[in-house]
Amino acid sequence: MKQEQKLSVSAIKNGTVIDHIPANNLFKVIRILGLENLEKQATFGTNLGSKKLGKKAIVKLTDKYFEDDEINRLILVAPEARLNIIKDYHVIEKKQVELPDEIIGISKCVNPKCVTNHENVLPKFNVMPAKDGVSLKCQYCEKITDKDNIEFIL
């Protein structure tokens, strides 16, 4: 009974579980991590109950592991996400999303006169901590895009 409750999406032997994803951002997480093209087994659960997030999503990936840089790209969509590395059905390590130095190609620059909104170039930002999470300083026009103005391009 206890086991059933715990594993609301099926168990994996080895791989990675990404937990505590805000339910409405599951698809962004999938795109940011490039999981659409994954060839291995994957299960996605969403609208699961969570004390922290209200409704959360969870991703379970067999035999898939991430570099810290890849995980840190989730800072805009799932800053509270927790990575669980699974070996032999057990969680052997937990990782958190950390503030990356830069974010490339996930969201738009808020400045309509910015070159990234007119030419074929991926927006690049330096990431800075802010009261309500992070703010992004465009590496091209140097303008700040704050959390409320983030527009995703995925």
Partner: protein, 302 residues
């Protein structure tokens, strides 16, 4: 090659800036050095500019270089819908250096990433105009004999003026004291004030343009633009408050010099022009020496 570009004033640290000033001084003393002989410099002005373009072209001519390019986007392939990327890639095949002004912010950085030759940013929209900042610094250095510990007054549009912002950042390496004089709506943006706070640099904000200027080493005047005000009456009023008149120079310091990035509208009355404090036209000339220095340094010719 790519990292040699001058995109933002932050690309040069304190040492880099001082090196340019030293070189500018050398070119002022020896203006006709044919170090660009055999070189082709592209001058791409996607947006019209008189002073900046002409002073670059004058600098290139004095150095013996050849110029290709255009002086507004209408005479370029932009009108045929060519992307900036394609224009830059193509022109970088024809030239040894590209000087560019473009209305999009960040365009110079973008160009520096795709060009085979260095880029000098001659203004990217409201963002950066580093050669202006360097010529302002050179003018201050020349008239004061130092950049350290000066009392700098800035007057006019301190909110939108990019020359003001870049100069604040550049001077913050030299322990200045700033006095900012502007209309309530045109004050220095918070991010620059936070930067000064972090560095422990003193600054004072004033809404009145009065005899406080008696302490100034430099007064940096700027133009208040009509577009900044939704109420035309308020513009007219403001425009006429932040005006430097000749009688205000009584009792100021002997070493005081008045700078202005030009063009001027009415913010310095014309009777100031022949006073010993007026320096803005010489400042414009300094732009030629400074740009000679920047071009020479960017191409690694000195």
């Amino acid at each position: 090659m790519k990292n040699k570009s001058l995109v933002s004033i932050e690309d040069y640290g304190k040492e880099g800036m001082l090196k340019i000033l030293e070189l500018a001084d050398y070119f002022e003393k020896n203006p006709n050095q044919k170090i660009l002989e055999g070189k082709v410099i592209a001058s791409l002005f996607f947006e019209p500019s008189t002073r900046t373009r002409l002073s670059f072209e004058s600098a290139i001519n004095k150095l013996g270089g050849r110029i290709i390019g255009f002086s507004d986007a209408n005479s370029s392939s932009v009108t045929k819908g060519e992307s900036l990327k394609d224009t830059i890639i193509t022109v970088s095949k024809y030239s040894d250096l590209i000087v560019m002004r473009h209305p999009l912010e960040g365009s110079a950085k973008f160009a520096s990433e795709i060009s085979d030759v260095p880029i000098i940013n001659a203004g990217d929209g409201a963002n950066q105009h580093p050669t202006q900042t360097l010529l302002d610094l050179y003018s201050i250095y020349k008239t004061q004999g130092t950049l350290e510990n000066l009392n700098i007054f800035m007057v006019g549009d301190l909110k939108y003026g990019r020359t003001v912002h870049s100069l604040i950042m550049a001077l913050s390496h030299f322990n200045p004291t700033f006095n900012f004089i502007s209309h309530e709506k045109l004050k220095v943006p918070t991010e620059y004030k936070l930067h000064l706070d972090d560095l422990g640099i003193k600054y004072y904000e004033h809404s009145e343009f009065t005899d406080i200027i008696s302490r100034a080493d430099i007064i940096y005047m700027t133009r208040v633009q009509r577009e900044r005000f939704s109420d035309p009456l308020e513009y007219e009023k403001t425009k006429n408050i932040y005006v430097l008149k000749k009688d205000m120079l009584v009792g100021t310091k002997d070493n005081l010099k008045i700078l202005h990035p030009l063009p001027r509208v009415n913010e310095i009355s014309e009777d100031v022009d022949d006073s010993k404090e007026a320096y803005y036209f010489t400042q414009a000339l300094n732009g030629v020496y400074t740009r000679q220095a920047i071009i020479a340094a960017t191409l690694g010719l000195v």
